[in-house]
C-alpha cells in the first residue's frame, strides 16, 4: 500500500468487497417465525407474571413495554433488513461472510486455518429446507456462521470445503 501513501489518497480508496451470494429468500420467513415464537414465549411469561403478581407491576410495566417494542421491530423489520445485508462466499482461498443489521460484521477465514466445518439444521430450518454452515477455527471469535442457506447448496458447499481443507497442509494455528 506504499503507492497509496505516495499518492496521498486518503479518501476511501480501499473498500470491503461484499461477498458474492445472498441467502435464500426463505431466510426472511425463518427469522420472522423464529422472532414470533420467541416473542410469544417471552411476552407470554411476562404477561402471566403481570396478571398474577400485582405487586410486581411497577417493575414489570416498563420492562414489558421495552420488550414488546423490541419484538415488534424484530418481527417486522429485522428479518428483511438482515436478508438485505447478509452475504457469503466460499472460495479456494477463504470463507467470507457479511452479517448483521444495525452493526455490520465482515468475517474472513483463510481455508488453511479452518479446523472444522459443520452444517446445522434446526426443526424450523428443516421444514423450510434451509441449513446453517459453521466454519470453526482455533479462535472461537474467528468462527463464521452462515445461517439460512438452501440445504442442498449448503451440503455441496460443505463437501467442497472439506475437500479443499483436507488438501491444505498445516495445523490451522
Amino acid at each position: 500500500m506504499a503507492r497509496l501513501r505516495h499518492h496521498g489518497r486518503m479518501e476511501a480508496s480501499l473498500t470491503l468487497r461484499p461477498p458474492r451470494h445472498r441467502l435464500d429468500r426463505r431466510f426472511i420467513t425463518w427469522r420472522t417465525l423464529q422472532a414470533v415464537l420467541w416473542s410469544i414465549g417471552v411476552l407470554g411469561t411476562l404477561g402471566a407474571i403481570w396478571g398474577y403478581a400485582e405487586s410486581a407491576r411497577p417493575y414489570l410495566g416498563p420492562v414489558i413495554l421495552a420488550v414488546a417494542v423490541t419484538y415488534a421491530v424484530n418481527i417486522t423489520v429485522m428479518p428483511y433488513a438482515r436478508y438485505r445485508t447478509h452475504r457469503w462466499e466460499a472460495t479456494e482461498d477463504a470463507v467470507y461472510a457479511l452479517s448483521g443489521w444495525l452493526t455490520r460484521e465482515w468475517k474472513v477465514v483463510p481455508i488453511s486455518r479452518i479446523q472444522s466445518i459443520d452444517t446445522e439444521i434446526g426443526p424450523l430450518q428443516r421444514w423450510l429446507g434451509l441449513a446453517s454452515i459453521t466454519v470453526t477455527t482455533a479462535s472461537s471469535e474467528g468462527k463464521i456462521t452462515i445461517e439460512g442457506v438452501d440445504a442442498k447448496i449448503a451440503e455441496e458447499t460443505v463437501d467442497r470445503l472439506r475437500e479443499v481443507t483436507a488438501a491444505t497442509p498445516g495445523d490451522a494455528t
Partner: protein, 582 residues
C-alpha cells in the same frame, strides 16, 4: 548456572538406575515394600526404578515404569498413628466418647489406608515421546500425554512432606483433563522429572533400559543439553517494591482475618470486638476510625504481599534453553513451591504488555508471552505473566530477548485513531450515565425507586469524561515488520504485538454510528493468547490498510483497491473468482 552441573552429578544414577530384575514377586505386599525400603533409601535414587510387581497387573519395570517414593508409606503410617491416637483420645478423654474425634480418626485411618493402596498401584513413565501414568485400584486409569504437549512442571510440598524430603510433582499440559499429579516423589526425583521434561532434553531420557546390560552407563547428553541455557532475567531485589505496592494490599490482611473470624467465634473469641477494643473504636468518629484502620492494615497488607511475592517469585529465572531449532523459554520460580513453565519457541506468536492506569506514572508493566495451540483457560502455562511486574523500559528490553526473532514491536510508533473515536468516547461518557439515569427515572415515576436516586448516575460524569480521554489516548495500531501491534484499554492499557503469520481470521465490525463516522473496529482472530485481539474505531482507510499490510494475500480476497482498478492494473479479485466455487 551452578545448578545443572550440580544437579546432574547427583541425578545421573537415577537416570540410568538399572531396574532390579530380581524376581521380587512379593513386592506388592505392603509389609515387604516398607520393610525393604530402609536399605534402598540409603541409596537414595534407587527407588525411581521400582522392582517388578508381577503379582499386580502393572508391567514390570524393564519398560521404564517408576513408582512413587517409599516415604509416602511413612507419611501414611504417621497419619495412621495420628488417627489412632486421636481415636484413642476421643474414647478415653471423657466418660462419653467424643464422636467427632472418633469419626475424624476413622476417616483419617481410611484415607491413610487408601493412600497406601494408591502408592502401591501408581506407576509413571517418561519416554522420549510421552509421559504416562497408571494409577487406581478399583478403577484403573492409564493416562498418556505426548511430551510436546507438556507446558508446566510444578513441584510443591506440604509441611510433613517437606520434613520427609518429599515433593508433589504436577505435570500440566495446559488442559486440566490431561495433567498428572505425582504425589509424592523423593525431592531429588522431583528435580530430575522437572529437568527431564525440559524442552530439548528428550534425548536425555533413556530409552527403556536394556535388561541385558546390567551395567549403568552414565549418559553425557543431559549435561550437554543443560549447558545450552542463556539467562534472560533473574530475580532482582528492585522488583519487590514494584510488585508489593498495590491498591488492594489492604485485602491481603483483611481476607485472612475475615476467614479466621468464624473458627475463632466457635471457640468463643469475638475478633471484631477484640479489634474494636484494641484501637479504641468507640472514642472516635467513623472517618477517623476508617483512616486509622487503613493506616494499620495497609503496612501489614504490604508485608503480607511481600512475603507472598517472595515465596512465589523467589529464585525467579527466565532462561532460553535447548538447541536450535528445538528451543524454548523456561521460567522457574518459587521458594517453597517451585514452578517450571516452558514455552516452546516454535509456538511463540507474540508478546503483550499491560500498563495499569493507577501505576502509569511509575511506568509499571506486566508482560505475557503469547503461545498458540492450547486451551485458552490453561492457567499459567499459556495465559500467565512471563515476568513479575516490572518497569516498562525493562520490559521492552526483555521483550526483545523473549521474542525468538529479537524484534522490538512493542516500541513501534502507533498510528493515532481518528478524532471521531474521541467524540464517540466522550459521547458514551455523557449518554451512558444519562441513559441509566433515564431508566431509573422511569422506575421512579412508576413508584419503584424513591426520591432522587435517579440523579446519582449523573454524578459519575466528572469521572467518566476523563476516562473517555484516557480510553481514546490509549488507542493505537501499527504493522511493524513481522508483527502487527494493537493497543487499547482504560484500567489496563494493553499493547499486543502479534506475529502476522498468527492471524487466522479477521472480524471487521461497524455499528450505525461508526458507519456515519467512517470508522471500523478490527478484530484479529488468532490461536495464541486471548484468541482475539481488537483495535476499536480505526478509520475505514486505516482499518483496511492495516489488514492489507498485515496479511496481503488474504486481504486480496476481500479488500478492493479502487485505485488499482481505476488505473487499470491487473485486478486481483479476478484471479480469486476463478477459484470460486460457492
Amino acid at each position: 548456572m551452578s545448578g545443572p552441573a550440580h544437579d546432574s552429578s547427583r541425578s545421573t544414577p537415577a537416570v540410568v538406575a538399572a531396574p532390579e530384575q530380581s524376581g521380587s514377586d512379593d513386592m506388592s505386599e505392603l509389609t515387604n515394600a516398607s520393610s525393604s525400603s530402609a536399605p534402598e533409601r540409603s541409596g537414595g535414587d534407587d527407588l525411581s526404578e521400582p522392582a517388578g510387581e508381577p503379582a499386580g497387573p502393572v508391567p514390570v519395570d524393564d519398560q521404564g515404569w517408576r513408582r512413587l517414593s517409599v516415604r509416602v508409606v511413612w507419611l501414611d503410617l504417621v497419619r495412621v498413628v495420628i488417627s489412632l491416637a486421636t481415636g484413642y483420645l476421643g474414647i478415653v478423654v471423657s466418660d462419653e466418647p467424643v464422636w467427632a474425634l472418633v469419626a475424624g480418626a476413622c476417616g483419617g485411618l481410611l484415607t491413610a489406608l487408601l493412600d497406601l493402596r494408591r502408592w502401591q498401584t501408581t506407576r509413571y513413565r517418561i519416554t522420549p515421546e510421552r509421559v504416562e501414568m497408571r494409577t487406581g485400584w478399583l478403577s484403573r486409569k492409564h493416562r498418556t500425554v505426548s511430551r510436546d504437549r507438556i507446558r508446566s512442571v510444578d513441584s510443591s510440598a506440604r509441611l510433613l512432606q517437606r520434613l520427609l524430603g518429599l515433593r508433589t510433582v504436577h505435570i500440566g499440559s495446559g488442559e486440566t483433563e490431561s495433567s498428572f499429579k505425582l504425589d509424592a516423589l523423593d525431592h531429588r526425583h522431583a528435580a530430575l522429572v522437572q529437568r527431564e521434561l525440559m524442552p530439548g532434553s528428550s534425548a536425555a531420557v533413556l530409552a527403556p533400559p536394556d535388561p541385558a546390560s546390567a551395567d549403568p552407563v552414565p549418559d553425557p547428553v543431559p549435561v550437554a543439553r543443560m549447558a545450552a541455557e542463556t539467562v534472560i532475567a533473574r530475580f532482582r531485589r528492585s522488583w519487590i517494591p514494584l510488585n508489593v505496592v498495590s491498591v488492594w494490599a489492604v485485602f491481603a490482611i483483611a481476607g485472612p482475618l475475615f476467614a479466621l473470624n468464624w473458627p475463632l467465634r466457635a471457640l468463643g473469641v469475638d475478633l471484631p470486638e477484640l479489634g474494636r477494643d484494641l484501637i479504641g473504636w468507640d472514642g472516635r468518629g467513623p472517618v477517623a476510625n476508617i483512616a486509622l484502620v487503613l493506616l494499620i492494615a495497609y503496612p501489614l497488607g504490604v508485608i503480607a504481599t511481600t512475603v507472598a511475592f517472595l515465596l512465589e517469585n523467589g529464585n525467579f529465572q527466565l532462561v532460553r534453553t535447548g538447541t536450535a531449532p528445538d528451543t524454548a523459554l523456561v521460567t522457574r520460580r518459587g521458594l517453597l513451591t517451585t514452578r517450571t513453565v516452558q514455552r516452546t519457541d516454535s509456538r511463540m506468536r507474540g508478546i503483550a504488555v499491560a500498563e495499569p492506569l493507577v501505576w502509569r506514572w511509575l511506568r509499571l508493566a506486566r508482560m505475557k508471552a503469547l503461545s498458540s495451540g492450547l486451551g485458552a483457560a490453561a492457567g499459567e502455562a499459556t495465559g500467565g505473566d512471563i515476568l513479575p511486574r516490572i518497569r516498562l523500559a525493562e520490559a521492552h528490553d526483555l521483550a526483545a530477548e523473549i521474542l525468538p526473532d529479537g524484534a522490538r514491536p512493542l516500541e513501534a510508533t502507533l498510528a493515532r485513531h481518528p478524532r471521531g473515536a474521541l467524540t464517540r468516547r466522550l459521547g458514551m461518557a455523557l449518554y451512558g450515565p444519562a441513559l441509566v439515569s433515564g431508566v431509573m427515572l422511569v422506575f421512579t415515576l412508576t413508584g419503584v425507586l424513591p426520591g432522587l436516586w435517579w440523579l446519582l448516575p449523573l454524578a459519575l460524569i466528572p469521572v467518566t469524561l476523563p476516562l473517555a480521554v484516557v480510553a481514546y489516548r490509549s488507542l493505537g495500531h501499527a504493522v511493524d515488520g513481522d508483527y502487527l501491534v494493537v493497543r487499547h484499554g482504560i484500567g489496563h492499557r494493553r499493547t499486543v504485538a502479534l506475529q502476522r503469520r498468527a492471524v487466522i481470521g479477521w472480524t471487521v465490525q461497524q455499528s450505525i454510528f461508526q458507519r456515519w463516522g467512517g470508522r471500523m473496529t478490527v478484530g484479529v482472530a488468532t490461536a495464541a493468547g486471548a484468541r482475539h485481539y481488537e483495535s476499536p474505531d480505526m478509520s475505514e482507510e486505516q482499518a483496511l490498510t492495516f489488514i492489507t499490510k498485515a496479511t496481503p494475500d488474504l486481504a486480496a480476497a476481500f479488500v478492493l483497491d479502487d485505485y488499482a482498478e481505476k488505473s487499470g492494473s491487473p485486478n486481483r479479485t479476478a484471479t480469486v473468482s476463478a477459484n470460486h466455487f460457492r
